[in-house]
Amino acid sequence: MKRLRKRIAWGLLAAVCLILFESGCRSGTTKDRSISGSAPEVTRTVTDDLGNQIRIPQKIERAVSLAPNLTEDVFAVGAGERLVGVTTYCDFPEEATKIQKVGDTLNPNIETIVALKPQIVLVSTASQLEAFSTTLADNGIAVYITNPKSLDDIFKDLTQLGDIFGTQNTAAKVVSDLTDRVASVTQTTVGTKPVRVFVQISKEPLFTIGKRSFLTEIVRRAGGGSVTENVETAYPNLSKETALALEPDVIILSDSPDNQEPNDAFKNSPAVKNGRIFRVNADLLSRPGPRLVNALEQIAADLKAVPTK
């Protein structure tokens, strides 16, 4: 009994210490702030892809990215060294792997993020983190949400990130380079008869790209036409009967261990009969970031070799 009481006492003491420590930290930061910004802190307002107005400090030194495409964006605009937290999926460029992990894209750890004291957290709508974003905002952390649905949206994101990090010149250079690369691909494909392409995201169950996927645009610009471009949603689970009837001339596989060959439904399709199966790195296809242009170039090169009837 006595021991139990003693334990409870220690527990209470520990709890009190923690609370004191915590509040000490808080008052510390406010003090810091008042020293560094002798005037009230200068902030500015940016608008994210969802139209939310976000107040952020003039200069961003600490940022967290919650999506691999955004991590690539930030590195591309020359602000990679200011990322203090990324997800476990963020593996490009190599430097990104050395940054502290805050969980994966779908389950980031809120405590880790708050402890990193970021001035801004970059979120992609694809990660479905609406509730999570609210929690972050409640903790006084600015949340910037991106929603890229096309190459143009990606270029807009890069320009915006350049603004946020104050690296407008690098961002402008990156965007003009990417635009040039896209233009030189489109030059060779414009006016040609589109090759009928099926993009297989997963073999079993059969997932493909639909109307809302940015890959539908990529295929079109690369000189093809997605045979599933009229199917609703971005990544539909497609009926195999429909798949069989599509008879694509080319199948593009998103390169992952369980997606190494076309689904059996395609065994009599012209694509399989003529051996026109191409693999594209799954990361290039799944991340609406600067490397999507690499995917575009690769698909365009693959399709160029295909004779159009």
């Binding site: 199917v231 689970n237 009926s239």
Partner: protein
Amino acid sequence: MAALVFAAALGSERLSFFDLNEQQRSILFDIRLPRVLLGACVGASLAVAGAALQSLLRNPLAEPYLLGVSNGAALGTMLAFVFFTGFEFARPVFAFAGAVIATITVYRMAKSRAGMNVERLVLSGVIVTTFLSSIIVLLTSLLDAAKLRSFTFWLLGDLSQATKSGFYLTLAVVVIGTIALSSQARALNLMMIGERDAFDFGVEVNRVRIVVFGAAAALVGTAVAASGSVGYVGLIVPHLVRLAVGSDNRLVVPFSALAGATFVVLADTAARTLIAPRELPVGAITALIGAPLFIYLLRRN
């Protein structure tokens, strides 16, 4: 039979049964028919297992899902999914093993010195089921994303991955299982009155239990390995059959097979066609129909 023809006639691509070209033949025979037939086998398996378990345990709630059998099979399949991707028959074998282990565990937990108590059995079933689901959830969060997608889809009940060999295995098990359980139908009738009375009538109670549990584990194991968790079939189909033909197990067991097959085939036809050319998991449809139907049955009695 009518349901089979109806299901074969409908799909995301329009076909007429006469005058098929090569592509349409391929759609019908390579994709649609294997799936429809597999759906029929899965439905029959689950419904027969449910009917026999309900009679054996004298509990209308007894069902492969409630007794942990399904989740045992699901966990087994999941392990095969992760560690033995290469072997085609790893999934049904592991699923059967999982179903047997879960059944034995539940049975052991329920058995006390005073003999078997049905309340204890259902309670242990619920506990084993929730324990197994927590392991499944744990494993799902440890698996990598690419494997996760096909697995979570399968977990919801998905017939789109039907293969011919998978179908032959399920067919063999459902035929043998249904015959085995029908052979115990008279004994089950007597056991529904009470195990002591059945014993007095010369029923070898323990042998009946072993046959029923074993057959149910095999039926559920192959069904789950082939199509994931198609819920509510084992629960509501036997109840509907009893409403129609009475509670004589000599009729209930075989009719449950037919009704279960029809139910799943029709549900899967809906899953294939409602949002064509996209697809829904069949488990979502059976649960969507099954749950309200069960509540209706509950209120009627």
